[in-house]
């Protein structure tokens, strides 16, 4: 990573360069603004550290110039603490974050890291669409640089459309986004606001109607390129135009279908569940007349609708199932078996349809949050024309828990990412005929909010592409490479990139602030719950436990400071990070804020990037602390306390859902002799390798914990003892292949395991553990006596 430091004070610059170099950043230094600009024009940087007061060209102007040229390199301002106006101007000029001088070096480095993680996606300070411009910092709309006067609601609508260029907003969603709770308008009101907005824009000379009506669905920003295409077609006249029109209609209909699917898929899912349930009871000869009838109706409806969404096979299956549920019909055993198979296939078809629609569906909306639960597996997008390689990837990927989608053409892939963002992407440059489209796709993926991590396959001879790839933030994988190696790399990236899943609770009596914060934070993947009445604070805290709290200081009845004290005094909540929003920055208030136990404060008016940075920093720090408290450092698996908690929850769930549960107790060979013979380092090595193996063999649906020296516990929900035993045997086999070296001899470490099942072997965790322990020691004695007999 390469950083440009523009700073004229060598007392600040020199130690900073030293610290940055120690962190392995490449650092260039410029002592004035003009030199800084010259460097920026000639080289690519990942981050700019920019002093505000500079000779020749000041930092703010430099930043503005940078942004006006469309360069998105993150900028961290170094500013004198007193000049708070500077911060606002600096951030509005396009800077991403600032640190006040004199600064804490560690904090500065953390902020550098945070910015670099986020890649080159500074929010554009100015929103534009053809000849329209909207400047959120001053709430101004211009058309051909002439001011357009809009009402606040019209402004809100336009900003929403410009910020979410691909999203279709129904009137209901518009109400949610723009109107407060007290003034809920009717759909007609929305329509008249849209009409007013369109008229004003037209009168101001806006090219085309920027707001497009999507029939039956709502409104969205008209795609600018499509408009250009249409215009071109129009000038060409003739058939071509009609074809373009058809494509638009087809894609509009597809998007619409996908939305309808999202609305009905839960109902469809319930129908399939009814049929599944009926089959289970039928096998046990317990099918009631009522349920039979329900199942018949459900299949009939499934037959009628699935094909409509593109699952012809689903409709055919349902058609085949329907007569089997006919009144008074008794089935032979073969028929019942056939029925089970059909229903299984039906379930798979449904899953397939969901996958398809998830890939198709548009930007996540308030409603779509629910949809994501359908397939939570991370989505890997592979763009490669090498079909042998992609087939291998597809084959190998099944065990890794990804959803892999393969597209051979980068242009098609780019269309895809406008609808939904993959969690990680793999671009194959090595087999690309023309790399330009790949590079463009790469930069677009990096520009998503939040950026999509990209892995790039390259080969030796394309040095220039390698430079470009690295500059655009892609990670290189060098050919030749196996499918497994690629998937390992993908997994690694996913582990790092997984966004912080966190809920932020904001308490402020100003509804506008609440709306603004929601709008600001939701695109970063945070769940935001808001509360405008501090009296309901405790209920809200209980109902939806947050990971971070944002409090306003001055509120009617109860102040934020008092709320903060309440939280700090409650043992349940005392560790919750709290961030204050305040218009007061005087020393007295700040003292009070920290005295009641706040972690940080941000001054109003809110500056988006600053708040986002602070929230993420705070969340990351808390998460780190938490993981220290929950994770066993040597093995990377949960510690005893954490795993006990999780196991108890699993047990409850299994009891509730009547699912089997099995618990494995694993014990490594006594570690003490290893310690005596080879030393502590050897024991650490054994434990670390075993932890790694466990983490690879068991996934998120299992619970793995280290309970003592060489004692490990694995909880497997939904699994019988026999299945669990098989997995442990597999683990044992893998473990046998591990050899350790110390003092130029090699040794192996054995393991013994016992698998018990709930509830047969014990009614709670303690009893299950005890049973397993007893059997383990019996087996040990058993083996010994066996061993001693001839």
């Amino acid at each position: 990573m390469k950083i440009l430091l523009v700073e004229d004070d060598s007392l600040i610059g020199e130690p900073l360069v030293k610290a940055l170099t120690e962190q392995h950043y490449a650092v260039d230094v410029a002592a004035d603004g003009e030199t800084g600009w010259a460097l920026l024009e000639s080289f690519a940087y990942d981050l700019i550290l920019l002093d505000v007061g500079l000779p020749k060209l000041d930092g703010i102007s430099l930043c503005r110039r940078l942004r006006s040229q469309g360069k998105q390199t993150p900028v961290l301002l170094l500013t004198a603490q007193s000049a708070s106006l500077n911060k606002v101007i600096g951030l509005d000029a396009g800077a991403d974050d600032y640190v006040a001088k004199p600064f804490n070096l560690q904090e500065l480095l953390a902020r550098v890291r945070a910015l670099l993680r986020r890649g080159d996606t500074a929010l554009p300070p100015l929103l534009e669409w053809r000849n329209l411009g909207l400047d959120p910092s001053i709430c101004e709309v211009t058309c051909d640089r002439q001011l357009v006067r809009l009402t606040p609601k019209e402004y809100g609508l336009l900003e929403l459309f410009l910020r979410n260029p691909h999203r279709i907003f129904s009137t209901g969603t518009l109400i949610d986004h723009i109107w407060s709770f007290e003034e809920t308008p009717t759909e007609d009101t929305i329509r008249s606001h849209i009409k007013g907005l369109r008229q004003k824009l037209r009168a101001a000379g806006a090219l085309d109607d920027p707001i497009e009506t999507v029939y039956g669905l709502g409104y969205r920003l008209r795609p600018a390129e499509e408009k250009l295409r249409e215009e071109k077609a129009r000038s060409d006249k003739g058939q071509k135009r009609q074809d373009e029109g058809k494509t638009t209609i087809a894609s509009q209909t597809l998007t619409g279908l996908s939305m309808v699917w999202n609305q009905v898929k839960e109902a469809v899912d319930r129908r399939v569940s009814v049929v599944e349930q009926a089959v289970v009871l039928l096998r046990q000869n317990k099918l009631s007349e009522e349920l039979r009838q329900q199942a018949e109706q459900a299949t009939h409806k499934l037959a009628g609708s699935l094909g409509m969404f593109g699952a012809d096979q689903g409709s055919r299956l349902a058609q085949e199932i329907e007569p089997l549920f006919q009144k008074g019909r008794s089935l032979t055993r073969q028929q019942v078996q056939r029925l089970s198979k059909l229903v299984n296939s039906l379930r798979q078809e449904l899953q397939h349809l969901n996958d398809l629609n998830n890939n198709l569906s548009s930007e996540p909306s308030g409603v779509a949050v629910v949809d994501q639960s359908v397939d939570e597996r991370p989505w890997l997008l592979v763009v490669s024309s090498n079909s042998t390689f992609t087939a291998q990837l597809q084959n190998e990927s099944s065990g890794w828990g990804f959803r892999v989608q393969i597209i051979s053409n980068p242009v098609t892939a780019r269309e895809q990412i406008t609808k939904a963002h993959p969690d990680v992407a793999l671009l194959d440059f090595a087999n690309a005929a023309d790399t330009d489209n790949h590079l463009m796709l790469l930069s677009e993926l990096r520009a998503c909010t939040p950026p999509v991590p990209v892995l790039v396959l390259t080969d030796q001879d394309r040095l220039i592409d390698r430079v470009k790839v690295t500059r655009l933030g892609g990670r290189r994988l060098q050919q030749p490479i196996t499918a497994t190696q690629v998937l390992e790399a993908v997994n690694q990236v996913l582990q790092q990139a997984r966004p912080i899943q966190a809920t932020v609770l904001v308490v402020d009596d100003d509804v506008q602030i609440l709306t603004a914060l929601q709008r600001l934070l939701i695109p970063w993947g945070l769940h935001v719950s808001v509360l405008d009445n501090p009296l309901l604070f405790l209920d809200s805290l209980e109902a939806n436990p947050p990971d971070l709290l944002v409090l306003d200081i001055e509120m009617p009845c109860v102040s934020g400071l008092e709320l903060c004290q309440v939280v700090r005094n409650d043992p349940c909540w005392s560790g919750l990070p709290i961030l204050f929003l305040t218009a007061h920055t005087d020393a007295e208030t700040m003292y009070q804020v920290f005295a009641v136990g706040a972690d940080d404060f941000v001054s109003k008016p809110i500056v988006g990037p600053e708040l986002v940075t602070r929230i993420f920093n705070r969340l990351e720090r808390t998460r780190l602390l938490k993981s220290f408290a929950e994770m066993d450092a040597l093995t990377g698996v949960a510690n005893r306390r954490k795993s006990t908690e999780a196991l108890s929850q699993f047990l409850q769930w299994c009891e509730h859902c009547q699912q089997p549960f099995c618990l494995a107790l694993i014990e490594l060979d006594p570690l003490k002799p290893i310690n005596q013979q080879y030393g502590h380092a050897a024991v650490d090595q054994v434990l670390a390798r075993f932890g790694e193996l466990l983490r690879r063999s068991f996934h998120t649906e299992d619970i793995v914990g280290r309970w003592g020296g060489g004692e490990f516990i694995i909880g497997m929900a939904g699994m019988t003892q026999a299945d669990g035993m098989q997995r442990i045997l597999d683990l044992q086999q893998s473990w046998q292949r591990f050899e350790f070296e110390a003092e130029s001899t090699s040794f192996q470490v054995g393991l013994r395991a016992e698998v018990v099942q709930y509830p047969q072997d014990g009614a709670d965790l303690q009893m299950l553990y005890q049973t397993a322990r007893d059997r383990l020691s019996q087996a040990e004695h058993g083996t010994r006596s066996e061993g001693s007999s001839p």
Binding site: L257, V260, A267, A303, L306, G307, F309
Partner: protein, 125 residues
């Protein structure tokens, strides 16, 4: 040419939504919907659509009853009716064919093809 108007009567939300969507976007027609036979009868009488798309299997008043009621009312008897059904058995098909309907469309229909299918049944160009 004036825009064609169609009334969809179906108790299933997904069928209504998809038919409405494609008839609007692909067909460019005006679409109104009813979720039961009774609602359909009054809408047909008030709105005088160019065609009624009628689901056969509905609770309370099924498609056949609805069709008979439409035929019995002088205000609606001249409106062509197309039945929608997922029943594929030949016997059922024949029974529907005996009714004086303008046509039958079997479910599941192809979303994109629905307007074309309807236009063909009614000889619309």
């Amino acid at each position: 040419m004036t825009t064609r108007r169609i009334l969809i009567i179906d108790d299933e939300y997904d069928i209504r939504a998809v038919a409405q969507l494609t008839l609007k976007t692909v067909g460019g027609w005006e679409v109104s919907i009813a979720s039961s036979g009774h609602e359909g009868l009054s809408k047909a009488a008030n709105e005088q659509p160019d065609v009624v798309l009628l689901d056969v299997m509905m609770p309370d008043m099924d498609g056949i009853e609805t069709f008979r009621a439409l035929q019995a009312n002088p205000a609606t008897q001249s409106i062509p009716v197309i039945l929608m059904t997922a029943k594929v058995q030949a016997a059922e098909q024949r029974r529907f064919a005996e009714l004086a309907v303008a046509g039958i469309i079997t479910k599941p229909f192809k979303a994109m093809k629905l307007p074309e299918q309807i236009a063909k049944l009614l000889d619309w160009s």
